[in-house]
Amino acid sequence: MKTLTHLQRLEAESIHIIREVVAESRNPVMLYSIGKDSSVLLHLAMKAFYPSLPPFPILHVDTTWKFREMIQFRDQVAEDLGLEMIVHINQEGVEQGIGPFSHGSAVHTDVMKTQALKQALDKYQFDAAFGGARRDEEKSRAKERIFSFRSDQHRWDPKNQRPELWRTYNNRIHKKESMRVFPLSNWTELDIWQYIHKEEIPIVPLYQAKERPVVERDGSLILVDDDRFPFKDGEVIEKRKVRFRTLGCYPLTGAVESEAETLPEIIQEMLLTTTSERQGRVIDQDHGASMEQKKQEGYF
């Protein structure tokens, strides 16, 4: 008698979690970051409710500094799948002219991402929000629950988490409190790529190597994605064959030089590479516990 493979088991577990949220929550939403993990999450949601469509909207918190290709991809996906896509931008932040170049990554991320997310959750009164975070991404996430309780101030209290046993998820909350739910908790980066390959899930073309205009700054390759890019003395645009291992705001996401154009080549490159995924993200490099602090403040 056959048993399930590791990808089949991960898929089934994620579908179970997604269904559980829909069965028990009043007003759930799926957060969508346009990255590869979000693509997998959305694909699993399509599977979970088939032949119905996922009975919840998709929310993208737009910092206004995402790669243009990401935004095109987002709109295309929503149209192809026939889902309701809510796009939220922190208008106060826009009015104050907040951006990564002018205010630095910390202020930009806090105002345009963390605060914007809280605004959106409050505005639509979502009581459960799916996120694509994985436990293998970062040390502090290894202890995150699948159903992660957030106070009425959206705060995470790592010392006071509910015990989580079996598949008996405790998702009871009081008014204004909420749940963040992570169906991909038990996936690794390699699982994600293998699954995208096996299921032929569309991803943003930025993951694939191509000649792109970049500027080298502080050892990172930054894509010049629009005319908001402020050049420093001596900086010139170079055409290099690059791809992105992780996607965020374009000024905060470094590209890597690569020849990997196809999915198998990307996986091959990842398996042979010797640095971890988040190294391309400027946000994590402050010090060891910075992600934990951000999470306590409400960052995903």
Partner: protein, 634 residues
């Protein structure tokens, strides 16, 4: 992530095809702070080549700053997550770690060995198929080794690896290894594991981890990694009888009605006869629907959607099972409970019992015995405190379908939720039904609540009057009942006079008795509601939790909480029965409003201020409310 296979560089497509058939296993590591548990996990990750160069660089820096291994890199630091615990030097919660080989993907639940964190170990064990029990070769089998093994067996893990660590510190002594493994095997005999594999290792030096080590030539068994890669843990569940808790009813349109869930045990094929429990109706599988196409057969762990030949009423909380070997159905069960909260468990207090696909109010009605987890002896107990384990009697407000936990975890497990704080305060493993008639399956009755109500041309409701003594509950309820009777409705009033003197005359006024008093009244009100009546219940019922319990039991659609709000001073002035005078003199203890609290409803369905209107007018308004809400007609 420098995986070992040469195929990655030479033929990535072949590699990916090979990786697709990889299997999966979850395990837990148990040991104390000093047994080298974090080092072992770090070693497994390191040896499986799961550590990136940048992580290794960070690790080297961390090792110099806070490491405990001198010049060597401290692999334990790889698995220490949160800032707070890094400072304390201990792990304080459950963390999940990932590694994979070419054959299998693993998830390790890393749980602390410190005594006060039994609950974390249980959490990690609940999803694990195998446990690694770590022993320091210098110390041998300790009390905590026994404690960990007991919890592992309690949570139903059947496969155990006894990792006898720090062999480097006992000169790789075969004698010491055999002495420890024999002592352990003798102790573990009564715990019912399917297999125990003892392996001598040194996590620090990486001996017998990946490959058999030449420094212990006397050991001929597999290395730890080899054993983890090859042991068969997944087959058992698929051979069992089919069970699927229904999570969600899938209705995209009027033509499709599917039941979505994850298969808890066994397998299912098109044409199989299934029973939906606790209801008891049967039908055959028409199709097994997935996004990737219809299946002929689905197996354990798969998340699917079933359609049936017949239109039978099935909803979330029901269990679909093979009609040939049915789960038991009962509302009264024996369960092993592990208490996980700082506040102790209170007998008879209403809690929420969260099963995999349902949440049901219930309480623990009796502690049969407590288990001393250090020596496994049974002791008598009245309360349960944090990290204590006991065999208890669980009473639920409705029937559930279940299997003994050791047969099927998914249909035999539950957690206990506090109704006020929503915290998870305990977990439990169902063992057997306490109902003698448990295997007599209910014949689905044709005559139900709706048909009885229809004959009375009304919708049943429970009008729950709450307020201080002397606030006017009974006066108003009497007037309401008269008005309803005059309209031709069918009613009954429950109050102190007809309940305290009969049904509840064995109860006093202690906190426990008060809870039981309200519980019985709720049950009676619920039965009357089932009979189709509009029931008026007039009790002080001062505690929010009790009223909430009544609401849950009677169903929130037909439960109407009416707050008779009369100020304390006014009630004392009226004092129709002279009770306030007696209480003031100290002749009545625990008098509500005086030396026992009244928790006013926060969102009553009807809020009546008696100082503003006459009882007659108030009664009229309540009847109007019922009329408006459609209770007085069908």
């Amino acid at each position: 992530m420098a995986h070992v296979s040469d195929l990655i560089a030479t033929d990535i497509d072949a590699y990916l095809a090979e990786q697709e058939s990889k299997s999966f296993m979850r395990l837990i590591t148990c040991g104390s702070v000093d047994d080298g548990k974090s080092t072992l996990i770090g070693r497994l990750l390191y040896d499986a080549k799961m550590i990136f160069d940048d992580q290794l660089t960070a690790l080297e820096a961390d090792s110099k700053r806070v490491g405990t291994t001198g010049d060597q890199i401290d692999l334990a630091l790889l698995v220490d997550g949160l800032a707070a615990e890094r400072e304390q030097g201990i792990t304080i919660d459950v963390a999940y770690r990932f590694f994979s080989t070419d054959k299998r993907k693993f998830i390790i639940a890393d749980t602390p060995g410190h005594e006060q964190y039994t609950r974390n170990m249980a959490t990690g064990a609940s999803t694990a198929e195998l446990a690694i029990i770590l022993i320091d070769a210098r110390k041998g089998v300790l009390t905590q080794t026994k404690r960990h093994s007991y919890i592992v067996s309690l949570l139903g893990i059947r496969h155990v690896v006894l990792a006898i660590n720090k062999m480097d510190l006992v000169d790789y002594s075969q004698e010491r290894f055999e002495q420890i493994s024999q002592e352990y095997m003798t102790f573990a005999r009564e715990l019912g594991f399917a297999d125990i594999t003892a392996i001598p290792i040194s996590a620090l030096e990486g001996k017998n981890i990946l490959e058999p080590s030449p420094v212990m030539p006397w050991y001929s068994g597999p290395s730890l990694m080899k054993h983890l890669e090859t042991i068969d843990v997944a087959q058992e569940q698929t051979r069992k009888d089919f069970r699927m808790p229904v999570q969600w009813v899938n209705r995209p349109d009027l033509d499709f009605r599917g039941f979505s869930g994850t298969i808890a045990a066994g397998q299912v094929s098109v044409g199989d006869e299934l029973v939906a429990l606790p209801g008891g109706r049967t039908s055959k599988v028409k199709s097994i629907v997935t996004f990737d196409g219809e299946l002929d057969t689905a197996i354990c762990e798969q998340a699917i959607t079933l359609t049936l030949e017949d239109e039978i009423d099935i909803s979330r909380g029901d269990t679909l099972a093979t009609s040939k070997a049915r789960p038991e159905v009962s509302s009264s069960l024996a369960a092993d409970i592990l208490w996980m909260d700082e506040h102790e468990m209170v007998l008879h207090r209403p809690y929420l019992i969260r099963l995999e696909n349902n949440t049901i109010p219930g309480n623990l009605s009796r502690i049969n015995y407590k288990v001393n987890i250090n020596n496994l002896e049974q002791e008598s107990a009245e309360v349960l405190t944090l990290n204590e384990v006991a065999r208890c009697e669980l009473s639920l407000t409705e029937d559930i379908a279940f299997d003994p936990y050791d047969d099927t975890r998914s249909t035999g497990c539950f957690v206990i939720i506090d109704r006020i704080t929503n915290k998870t305060v305990g977990c439990g493993m169902l063992r057997h039904s306490l109902d003698n008639a448990t295997n007599v399956h209910w014949h689905a009755l044709d005559l139900d609540k709706a048909s009885r109500a229809k004959a009375k041309e009304q919708k049943p409701a429970v009008l729950w009057f709450t307020g201080l003594s002397g606030s006017g509950k009974s006066t108003i309820a009497n007037l309401v009942e008269k008005k309803l009777f005059a309209r031709g409705n069918h009613t009954y009033t429950l109050d102190g006079d007809n309940v305290r003197h009969g049904l509840n005359k064995d109860l006093g006024f202690t906190a426990e008795d008060r809870i039981e008093n309200i519980r019985r009244i709720s049950e009676v009100a619920n039965l009357m509601s089932d009979a189709g009546l509009i029931t008026l219940s007039c009790f002080i019922s001062p505690f929010r939790e009790d009223r909430e319990q009544a609401r849950q039991l009677c169903g929130s659609n037909s439960f109407i909480e009416i707050f008779i709000d009369t100020p304390f001073e006014e009630c004392e002035k009226r004092d129709p029965k002279g009770l306030y005078k007696k209480a003031r003199k100290g002749q009545i203890k625990h008098f509500t409003g005086l030396d026992s609290p009244y928790e006013a409803p926060e969102n009553p369905d009807i809020h009546i201020k008696t100082t503003e209107k006459s009882p007659e007018k108030i009664a009229g308004e309540i009847v109007d409310f019922l009329d408006r809400e459609g209770f007085l007609t069908t």
